[in-house]
């Protein structure tokens, strides 16, 4: 199974980045082989729509799940439309730890956006 995690650097030993749309890297992990591939998060400097870009990336990877500290309403709606399950890091500190806990089934699954969107005043 393919999953995508938001991380601060490329690699399974990377610390988790709690921000989905604006985390530094998106780490694509094959949970069977533990092979990984890292991409700089496309929306990290976007003025708006960062979560949507990250969700688009996850969908393009045909991943089954995304793990992050936080999913805003746009990212949540986009991932949900793509049929991608969302899980929260909780107190996981590294990507490796999060993948292990994901496989063990001990990560919290998200059923609704975990925060409100930004006020958007700076987008206008």
């Amino acid at each position: 199974m393919k999953i995508v995690l938001s991380t601060t650097s490329p690699g399974l030993d990377s610390t988790t980045d709690p921000r989905f749309g604006r985390g530094a890297y998106l780490l694509v992990v094959d949970t069977e082989t533990m092979r990984w591939e890292a991409r700089p998060n496309p929306g990290v400097n976007a003025s708006g729509g960062a979560g949507i870009q990250a969700a688009q990336f996850v969908a393009d990877q045909k991943a089954d799940a995304a793990i992050s500290g936080d999913f805003g309403p746009h990212a949540f709606n986009a991932l949900q439309a793509a049929g991608i399950a969302m899980y929260l890091y909780g107190d996981c500190r590294t990507a490796d730890e999060a993948v292990k806990r994901f496989k063990a089934g001990t990560l919290e699954r998200v059923g609704a956006a975990t925060r409100a969107e930004c006020d958007g005043a700076h987008h206008a």
Partner: protein
């Protein structure tokens, strides 16, 4: 003549100046009654002073995409051309995000399957009516929760068609971002209202840079002056910004404003001062045009 009143920092007295300038010009019998436009659509408040009778109201919106799932082939061209990531193709679902959409229509133009139509998404209203001293009052009001002020400001300004000799006073939003630029664009002169504090000066610098970028001549009004603040005078002198008026920090003025009374009513001597200021601005404009 279009005069925009801006500040950078919020709460310096833009509306105090703009409303009393409009009233002072309205009292002068020789000129047509001015048009007043409250462009601070996120928090309009000029109506508190000019007390308009808002007779007309009409909705303003932007055209947002609607995707026909039956026609969509998930090719992704719409998402590719959208500069604001307001539409995304997620596997076998194309999803639009109205709050990020700027209404440009690129997605619909690019769709070879004609799967995208556009519908009007209301984001606020434009209101209009006569106010104190017969001023033609207009304002925009952005719906709560809507992020984009610019389409309303643009629509407000599109509808302003002054007669020859009719002055337009624009009360701009605070800050220096897109809504402010939208309000300033097309103005003949900018009145930058500041207060003699480091914060006021900091944001005045930013506002002056926007004025420079847009090529609009500007002058400064110092509000709530309370003792010397040489840094402000120094900045204005070195930037070629004339200080056109200084309003002292006075309890009686603050009390009057808090009661919704215009400065020109609290201190009627400002009527002549604003008329003189207007004359100064127009005179400088005429001289500048003569030199061109």
């Amino acid at each position: 003549m279009r005069i925009a009143v801006a500040s950078g920092k919020g709460g310096t007295g833009k509306t105090t100046i703009a409303t009393s300038l409009a009233l002072s010009l309205a009292i002068e019998v020789s000129a047509p009654l001015p048009i007043f436009v409250d462009c601070d659509v996120e928090a309009p408040n000029a109506h508190l002073f000019l007390k308009p009778h808002l007779e007309q109201s009409r909705p303003v919106g932007i055209m947002i995409p609607v995707v026909d799932d039956a026609k969509c082939t998930y090719c992704g061209k719409c998402a590719e051309v959208c500069a604001y990531h307001a539409i995304a193709v997620l596997g076998r679902k194309t999803l639009a995000f109205p709050q990020l959409c700027h209404g440009c229509g690129s997605c619909a133009i690019q769709c070879s399957e004609k799967a995208i139509t556009e519908k009007l998404d209301p984001i606020g209203v434009i209101e209009r009516g006569p106010s104190l001293a017969g001023i033609d009052f207009r304002r925009g009001v952005l719906n709560i929760g809507e992020p984009m002020a610019v389409p309303i400001i643009r629509e407000l300004l599109r509808q302003v068609t002054p007669r020859p000799g009719q002055t337009v006073i624009l009360d701009a939003p605070p800050g220096t971002s897109c809504p402010v630029v939208a309000a300033m664009r097309g103005a003949d002169y900018l009145l930058l209202v500041t207060e003699p504090t480091p914060f006021g000066l900091h944001d005045l610098r930013l506002a002056a840079q926007v004025a420079g970028e847009l090529g609009i001549p500007a002058g400064v009004i110092v509000n709530r002056e309370d003792g010397d603040y040489p840094d402000l005078d120094l900045f204005c002198r070195s930037s070629g910004l004339p200080i056109l008026m200084r309003i002292p920090f006075e309890r009686a003025i603050a009390e009057g404003i808090a009661q919704g009374r215009p400065l020109a009513e609290i201190r009627p001597e400002y009527i002549a001062a604003f008329q003189k200021l207007f004359w100064q601005i127009t005179d400088s404009q005429i001289r500048q045009r003569a030199q061109e």
